[in-house]
């Protein structure tokens, strides 16, 4: 029943996306589409959470690959991701009802938006390789069209190009992986793939290919270059979906293949996800810290979080391979919980960035500032998002990081040497990325929302509409709930862990006082609710006492600033100056940051200039050689386009003689 409901809903989404074909010029079509999307997403969410019993639901439609059909299923993992996707989809739709009107060409965006949602839902529902890949690529294609919304900007066109190219690369990698999985006979449905026996070189190959395929879509480190270009280029509600939800769908692909289809894991499976996850987390957050484009910053931070999730998944694989089922479940639950959490607060932050963009027309934080005065509600909600994503208690980001740390602390008993060396390093990376994440968001929030306005646009900003605020408030509320009552969410995830790991964490509703305890209370526990209550109570008590017994008097005066404040807002600390210490200490290694100072000699009247050059080393070492090689080869081969007829005949002749010689042998 829920599967049929889901299917009908996906069909509905596709129908909605074709709405503009019938009602082309009608005003309000975009809003209608968003409202419909909201309704359908809500229904799909319901379909995900309807109790289904322990078994997976299956359905075969006579579509797709003829001899296999279009297989769909709904099991615990699918249900979880279905919930994540549609929670994101529903809130983004609410947001878009208000925000969508500000986007250029709203109807086009709305149509592709619906298609995008349909694609993401279908990926999760698919139960055969063909349907999976069709949905996967359809999702890429629809989002590609969305990235091209502002196609007049050459930068966006380039972003869309790199995006689709990388997506295609990933899809081809997955395709090859399914080729191995399906075997020579072409049994591409998941049920037969699960059953098929496999050599270890085949599993290794599949693992590498899946990491390339799903990793490139999720934005894992060396394959991430498209993400910070493409996500910001789309309208903000789409960016939110891409960052918050689509990357999760990519991770779904990884989990589905590696945890489900590939059979019982070996310990070395965990090495790649953990290594690349750790590299992604650190590199990406460093880049995020240096970004001055708010949406780009958020996109880089998405990569960081994807890295964190992959670390969790890798750990889980390692535990599972060693038969440590409860720790495996802890790591797996941590990853899933982080997936859920990240989808919440990343959407929230992108909505906030969109609100700022609507209000000021600016994405560059160096031209913002002081928005807390003009858009107090957005500022509050964005602050909440920053708090959550910076992994600070009592919000939800912390809980999943905490679980991740707990999982790491369970790992020293694993016998493999390589893991003994790798896991602590991964732990450092995790801790470092969390700490850098906090600095990154201090900078983002502090420069964009606090201080004095750096431009007229920022000064004259207006609070955004109720729909947008509503969507953001909902997400913040949910983040807070997940932070305060994590036990409830972990218990909800448990069936997934049970089904895919074989073990599960202890039921958290049996732990007293709404605490969570991953293994045993004596080992570690955390109670977000109590911490939150204590903090609020003591803050409130402090205020109450001070106002009652001492002084509540307040006077406004010019800022002190050691005696004199320069009225020009340019004297404030900027985003790039804020990042300077981090750039100096860590930047040289990570992105060959070069500072150039052009100081006029005494007596000269020209202005001094300071410029910083940041290069993406991965881009320089991995991508530039490829592009230049392609260019060189195509230039070189291009000479073949301008031969004379004799020379072409010569080619034919040579081929003929060669083949004859071959045959004569």
């Amino acid at each position: 029943m829920p599967l049929y409901l889901a299917l009908v809903c996906v069909g509905g989404l596709i129908g909605v996306s074709s709405l503009p074909i019938y009602k082309r010029e009608t005003a309000g079509v975009a809003e209608l589409i968003y409202r419909l999307c909201l309704g359908i997403s809500a229904l799909l969410f319901v379909a995900a959470i309807i109790p289904r019993g322990a078994n997976a639901l299956d359905l075969t439609l006579p579509l797709g690959l003829p001899w296999i059909g279009m297989r769909l299923h709904l099991d615990a993992l699918t249900a979880f991701f279905l919930a994540v996707v549609n929670l994101g989809g529903a809130t983004a739709s609410v947001y878009a009802i208000g925000y969508g009107a500000h986007v250029s060409n709203p109807v086009r965006v709305a149509a592709f938006y619906a298609a995008f949602l349909a694609g993401m839902n279908l990926v999760v529902l698919a139960a055969d390789a063909y349907t999976f890949l069709v949905a996967w690529e359809f999702m890429s294609l629809a989002s590609w069209a969305l990235v091209l919304t502002h196609h007049h900007d050459a930068e966006n066109r380039r972003a869309s190009y790199i995006y689709l190219l990388m997506a295609s690369f990933g899809a081809l990698a997955l395709l090859m992986a399914f080729g191995v999985l399906g075997g020579v006979s072409g049994a591409y449905d998941f049920a037969s793939i699960r059953e098929a026996p496999r050599d270890s070189w085949q599993t290794g190959l599949v693992l590498a290919l899946v990491l390339l395929g799903a990793g490139s879509k999720a934005g894992l480190a060396p394959l991430h270059v498209w993400l910070p270009l493409a996500h910001p280029a789309a309208p903000s509600h789409v960016s939110a979906l891409m960052s918050g939800v689509m990357t999760k769908v990519a991770i779904y692909g990884f989990i589905r293949i590696v945890f489900d289809l590939l059979g019982p894991p070996a310990f070395w499976w965990s090495i790649e996800p953990m290594t690349f996850g750790a590299i992604s987390a650190v590199i990406a957050i460093l880049f995020a810290t240096l970004q001055s484009d708010l949406k780009k910053l958020l996109a880089y931070s998405t990569i960081e979080n994807i890295g964190v999730i992959f670390i969790g998944l890798g750990l889980s694989l390692a535990f599972k391979a060693n038969g440590m089922l409860v720790p495996a479940a802890v790591a797996f639950s941590a990853a899933l919980f982080h997936i859920f959490n990240h989808s919440l607060f990343k959407s929230l932050l992108f909505f906030g960035a969109g609100a700022v963009l609507t209000a000021t027309g600016e994405r560059n934080i160096e031209r913002l500032g002081g928005l807390i005065h003009s858009m107090p509600k957005t500022a509050f909600l964005f602050l909440g998002g920053c708090f959550a994503i910076a992994a600070l208690p009592p919000l939800n980001g912390f809980v999943s990081e905490w679980l991740m740390f707990q999982a790491i602390l369970l790992s020293p008993t694993m016998p493999q040497w390589i893991l003994k060396l790798l896991v602590p390093a991964v732990g450092v990376a995790l801790a470092l990325s969390a700490a850098l994440g906090a600095s990154c968001y201090v900078r983002a929030y502090g420069v964009a929302f606090l201080g004095r306005p750096r431009s007229d646009e920022a000064r004259e900003a207006k609070e955004v509409d109720q729909w947008s605020l509503g969507a953001m408030s909902f997400l913040l509320g949910l983040s807070l709930t997940a932070g305060l009552l994590p036990g409830f969410f972990i218990d909800t995830i448990s069936p997934v862990a049970k089904a895919f790991i074989g073990g599960r964490m202890p039921a958290q509703n049996e732990v007293g006082w709404l605490s969570i305890a991953p293994v045993a209370e004596s080992r570690s526990s955390y109670n977000g609710m109590l911490v939150f209550v204590l903090i609020v109570a003591s803050a409130w008590a402090a205020r109450w006492l001070i106002y009652k017994y001492w002084s509540g008097a307040t006077r406004r005066a010019p800022a002190w600033d050691c005696g004199y404040i320069e009225p020009s807002t340019a004297t404030q600390y900027t985003g790039s100056s804020f990042a300077q210490p981090i750039r100096r200490t860590l930047g040289v290694i990570a992105f060959s940051a070069r500072e150039r100072l052009d100081m006029p000699l005494p007596g000269e009247t020209r202005a001094a200039r300071f410029s910083v050059q940041i290069q993406d080393r991965i881009f320089n070492f991995l991508y530039l050689p490829i592009t230049s090689a392609v260019a060189r080869i195509s230039n070189w081969l291009n000479a073949l386009n301008f031969l004379s007829i004799q020379e072409y005949l010569g080619l034919v002749f040579a081929a003929l003689v060669l083949l004859l010689v071959g045959v004569a042998r």
């Binding site: 570690s524 803050a539 002190w560």
Partner: protein
């Protein structure tokens, strides 16, 4: 009955840390003054300052926002909660399961996050400078702390502070990894509390300030809360070190009044020792340049990582 007793102990702990923190600051100042052959203010001077600040009218910068006004309360509350959950005289506080070691570190992170943001609110250059440096120090200190936590928790088999303390009490043996962790934690503690050589709590020389720069615009009750929070933080770090490495004399969970009193005395003694050591250390070193601090903290981070690796590798031997 036990619950009431536990609650009482918990409240006592909360009150104790609150009371003791400014006194600790006063004590360190006093020792430093003595070392410099000065008389120095009395130990209760920080409390006097705080009360005076609380009584005063608060002057707000013209463009300070609601965030600026709310932040001090939350900075104080967060630090206080963290400090109250760290065992001082009694092991196994009532609420100790609410936040383990990692959560306590993260709570301090929350406080830092708020403080750094508050520094940027008015839009002055000094606030920015302070926040920026604080953010950098934090980015290195926090992972170092986590690594130290890893080491200690792996040795003790728990991240719960009370469990760690009882383990350490029961197995007082020398371990290289734990020693390294201790050194790393000392480094981190110095940096986190803005002590010499990382920052000078007494300075008001603009370009060298970190902590002081962030709170430059604060006054009155707000300033009092922030100062109190930073005092609490110093106390918290000393209690952490005590609890993880020197838990001697701490009363076990459910102990009687006498044991608790002994624990209290032991704690005060340990505070005093730490204060003296800190004062001696501060007077004998000079503040380092800001860009040397990452090296200093990096050393802490590396030590922490090394300690963790050691624990990991030796686990199966």
């Amino acid at each position: 009955m036990t619950i009431i007793f536990d609650l009482f102990a918990q409240i006592l702990q909360m009150a104790l840390v609150l009371l003791a923190a400014p006194l600790l600051i006063g004590f360190v100042r006093k020792v430093k003054a003595h070392l410099l052959r000065r008389q120095g203010p009395p130990i209760v001077q920080p409390w006097r300052d705080l009360l005076r600040l609380l009584r005063k009218e608060t002057v707000l910068a013209e463009n300070a926002s609601w965030f600026y006004r709310a932040a001090p309360y939350f900075i104080f509350a967060t630090t206080w909660v963290a400090a109250s959950l760290t065992p001082t005289f009694e092991n196994g506080l009532m609420f100790s399961w609410a936040a383990d070691l990692i959560a306590i570190i993260a709570l301090l992170g929350s406080a830092r996050f708020l403080l750094a943001l508050a520094g940027m609110d008015v839009g002055t250059s000094f606030g920015g400078i302070g926040s920026s440096r604080e953010a950098m120090f934090g980015s290195l200190a926090e992972p170092a702390t986590i690594m130290i936590v890893f080491t200690v928790s792996l040795v003790a088999g728990s991240t719960q502070l009370s469990e760690i303390a009882s383990y350490m009490l029961a197995h007082s043996e020398l371990r290289v990894s734990v020693g390294m962790a201790l050194i790393a934690l000392l480094i981190v503690a110095i940096a986190e509390n803005g002590r010499v050589p990382v920052d000078n709590p007494a300075t008001h020389l603009e370009l060298t300030m970190v902590h002081e720069a962030m709170i430059l615009e604060y006054s009155g009750r707000h300033l009092a809360l922030i100062e109190l929070a930073s005092a609490l933080k110093l106390l918290l770090y000393i209690s952490l070190i005590d609890c993880m490495f020197f838990p001697w004399g701490m009363a076990p969970h459910g102990a009687g009044v006498v044991e608790m009193a002994t624990g209290g005395v032991a704690f005060v003694f340990k505070l005093a020792v730490a204060g003296v050591l800190l004062a001696v250390f501060e007077t004998s070193t000079a503040k380092m340049r800001v860009f040397r601090v990452p090296d200093f903290l990096g050393a802490g981070l590396m030590l922490g990582l090394l300690a963790t690796l050691l624990v990991f590798v030796t686990r199966s031997l």
